[in-house]
């Protein structure tokens, strides 16, 4: 692992550099002007587009840019294989289990996605809104009951919401949420620094889910896991490895992404009393406010694997190379967004690509929006006035392919 800070982001960027993680925005602005598709040799090497147009073009071109491998930092997950170590050997259990459809290309992707979409429409996820609201209120009760006027808005609040909601949807005990959170952090956030721990976390998740799947086959319930095991493709049951991989995806993809978005929104609002007031006084702008906060603080950067020689915006890419889809940078591209670095809660034109663009548009986008809306509304209903704790910003950020606050100390009047 390279630990030296990058000298030139155009040729040597490091998505795990602490300064970059804390404030990547000026780097993206420089790159867009100077070298719109940057390259690095770090972490196995990758390309990184930063303009909206290039990101759009690559995301639409799934024939050249495969989703078989969406991670850049280890452990690397490949469809149809288990985790590969540096020697290319299988690591961990459950070989053959990937995370479809995020790790699928057409034609598998087409049916795998179709199967997953109905339970994640806006209408379907609305069933869980009231429950999410109650959960947020309980969390806020506990924060306020401490009587200190202090909270960690990431640990005590944002982090507690998505695992509860996805556990409820899947139909697994909500007392599993602490385990889910720990596993997902070990797998994604801490994986680059501890690949063995990530493999172990993957095995933990798959072992747990496999037990649940077998249970739903015997005792179907009204939950997402039961829905998945009952699906058929061309009249045939979906293979176990597929159901297992999709269930794994639902746990991994639905947790630290949304928790990062909620945390970033609360970080922004802590420093912008005028935006807090607007959301409180103009409740009708909440949907547009959520989209704008997702745009400005997009957490997710997925990768693509180059399948064939292809040139994009002057960058000559070869088979086997990776492309880091920097959707967050595209969402701050001045060619598409006026005053991209300003949060404008009622921004009229906001075709953001925080949920990706093209065939891999985040299947959980409506769920993420619902959780963000509820989390922000409930927080502001109870803690309308708050600010970052300490004289300087003490927030710590996780980076890599999912960026968001991991600790967010705030203070509020008692």
């Amino acid at each position: 692992m390279t630990t030296e800070a990058p000298k030139d982001y155009a040729t040597d960027y490091d998505v795990l550099d602490p300064n970059y993680i804390k404030n990547p925005f000026p780097v993206w602005d420089q790159l867009r002007d100077k070298c719109p598709i940057a390259h690095t040799g770090r972490w196995g090497g990758s390309w990184m587009p930063t303009t909206y147009a290039d990101l759009f073009a690559i995301a639409q071109d799934w024939k050249h840019f495969s989703s078989m491998d969406v991670l850049v930092v280890p452990p690397q997950l490949q469809a149809g294989s288990a985790y590969l170590n540096e020697e290319g050997e299988f690591q961990g259990d459950f070989p053959g289990v990937a995370a479809p459809p995020i790790t699928s290309d057409p034609p598998e992707h087409t049916w795998a996605r179709k199967m997953l979409l109905p339970p994640f429409t806006a209408k379907s996820v609305a069933r869980f809104e009231e429950l999410t609201r109650e959960h947020c209120r309980h969390l806020l009760d506990a924060i306020i009951a401490k009587g200190t006027g202090e909270a960690d808005a990431a640990v005590d609040y944002a982090q507690q919401i998505p695992p509860f909601v996805i556990a409820t949807m899947l139909g697994v005990p909500t007392n599993m949420t602490a385990d889910f959170t720990q596993w997902v952090r070990k797998f994604l956030e801490l994986g680059p620094f501890n690949p063995e721990g990530a493999v172990e976390a993957r095995t933990n998740i798959l072992t747990f889910v496999w037990g649940q799947i077998q249970d739903r086959r015997q005792n179907p319930k009204d939950d997402l896991l039961s829905y998945l095991v009952q699906q058929k493709v061309d009249g045939q049951p979906v293979p176990d490895t597929h159901i297992l991989g999709t269930s794994f995806l639902l746990i991994v993809a639905g947790i630290d992404t949304t928790w990062s978005s909620i945390g970033s929104a609360l970080w922004h609002l802590a420093q912008h009393p005028e935006d807090r007031k607007r959301i409180i006084n103009e409740p009708e702008i909440i949907n547009s406010a959520v989209e704008e906060l997702i745009r400005a603080y997009s957490p997710v950067t997925m990768a693509r694997l180059v399948l064939d020689n292809v040139e994009v915006d002057g960058a000559k890419m070869c088979p086997g190379e990776k492309v880091l889809m920097n959707f967050p940078a595209g969402n701050r591209d001045p060619a598409v967004f006026e005053h991209p670095d300003e949060v404008i809660l009622d921004r009229a034109k906001n075709p953001h690509i925080a949920f990706g663009v093209g065939i891999h548009r985040c299947a959980g986008s409506n769920l993420a929006r619902m959780e963000m809306k509820v989390a922000i509304q409930e927080w502001l209903a109870r803690i309308p006035d708050y600010s970052l704790a300490g004289a300087s910003d003490e927030t710590t950020w996780a980076g890599g392919q999912v960026r968001g606050p991991r600790t967010l100390p705030v203070v509020f009047p008692q």
Binding site: K114, P118, F120, N287, A348, V357, S365
Partner: protein, 66 residues
């Protein structure tokens, strides 16, 4: 004015439905379709343009009346 959602391009972001719910409906998969054969009622033209401007897939087209 008429609007049309290209079903080969729509990926179900739901942005059009949120900004102009009078002009679109969502199917069971979350994909958007124009309602009323795409005819935009008088006074809704601005909402139709907003839907176009907010679609990340560039899937919505407008045909202006002659």
């Amino acid at each position: 004015m008429k609007i049309h959602v290209d079903q080969d391009k729509c990926q179900g972001h739901n942005r059009c439905f949120v900004v102009a719910s009078e002009l679109f409906e969502l199917d069971d998969y979350g994909y958007a379709h124009e309602v009323n054969d795409g005819v935009v009622p008088a006074g809704m033209e601005e909402k139709a343009r907003l839907a176009v401007a907010n679609c990340p897939e560039q899937a919505i087209s407008i045909t202006e009346d002659d």
